[in-house]
Symmetry: C2
DNA sequence: TTACGTGCAAAGGCTTTGCAGTCGG
DNA sequence: CCGACTGCAAAGCCTTTGCACGTAA
């Protein structure tokens, strides 16, 4: 996943502040820190990983607050929650439309643009008299390094 | 989701038996019961729900065994595990080839052939040096009857 | 000042694991 | 017979919740 350009990350942070102000919710150090950490990510950090990064950045945030803030961010639509079937959630800035290739063997996650897929799905939706809004897509397979090996060993990837 | 035709369910069960035999794994009452319960489903039952159905059908199966058997079935590729972000897993027969259009307002689910999407994804996977194995796709939008109405009411669709 | 946020610790809920007993092949 | 399976109960793990204290506005 590509890291958000600094200005875009800043803009998302600003939108978060506005959202809080509009609802008369306190703008706290923790909330800004959590939002900033997610917007700065170039991957899909888990809660634990976010906690580590915040700590490393000198912004310690309690676990409960971290969870509560992420929930808030997801509700505002600024952050997206992803589930790769690992038993815990991952988070990413809700910037763009991309989908994921997931290696069934080693768990590697690679992103690709969802544009082509989306164009096709708009047509498909229309054929079924649906108005396309959004889609969720995961492609499971074997990455470059794993595809060379024995192909029918049970995999851990699917969960 | 549509229930599997009886013959197809039977065929999946047979494939499961063969898989077990091939690996010299015991074919037990519990394993057949669990597999049968999943293949007979016309929805996406959770572990708890499967447990209930098995019990109702006179096939009590311990929780641990249920989890272990489902894992086995997923590894064989005969059953698919789904995560709707509810905090627990759901299961369905892996009778493939269908994706879903889901109405964000009324919940209507319409299946459509995943062939076109799959062809595209094979190419995409290849571009990223992945070997395509399978995909999971949901398209969220508004169905024919709902699309006429107010379009920006918050939806429950995402998690 | 006051409502809401925060952190800790405990509780929750789903899933996995250890182990003694059982059974399929 | 032996290796694998079962079931129970306990442990694990991620996430949520209760509560006393702190803080943005």
């Amino acid at each position: 996943m590509t890291r958000l350009p600094p200005d875009e990350a800043a803009s998302l942070l600003e939108r978060f502040r506005r959202h809080l102000r509009d609802r008369r919710l306190p703008v706290t150090r923790q909330r800004l820190a959590v939002a900033g950490a997610v917007f700065a990510a170039d991957d899909h950090p888990s809660v634990l990983e976010l906690s580590r990064r915040l700590l490393a950045g000198g912004d310690e945030v309690g676990t409960a607050t971290l969870y509560r803030t992420l929930q808030l961010l997801v509700e505002t639509g600024l952050v997206r929650e992803r589930d790769f079937g690992e038993g815990y959630a991952r988070y990413e800035p809700a910037a763009e439309g991309h989908d994921h290739l997931i290696c069934q063997r080693c768990g590697l996650v690679v992103e690709f643009s969802g544009d082509r897929v989306e164009r096709m799905l708009r047509v498909t939706a229309d054929e079924h008299h649906f108005l396309y809004r959004r889609h969720h897509l995961e492609v499971h397979g074997l990455c470059r390094t794993c595809r060379g090996r024995d192909l029918d060993t049970p995999t851990a990837g699917d969960r």
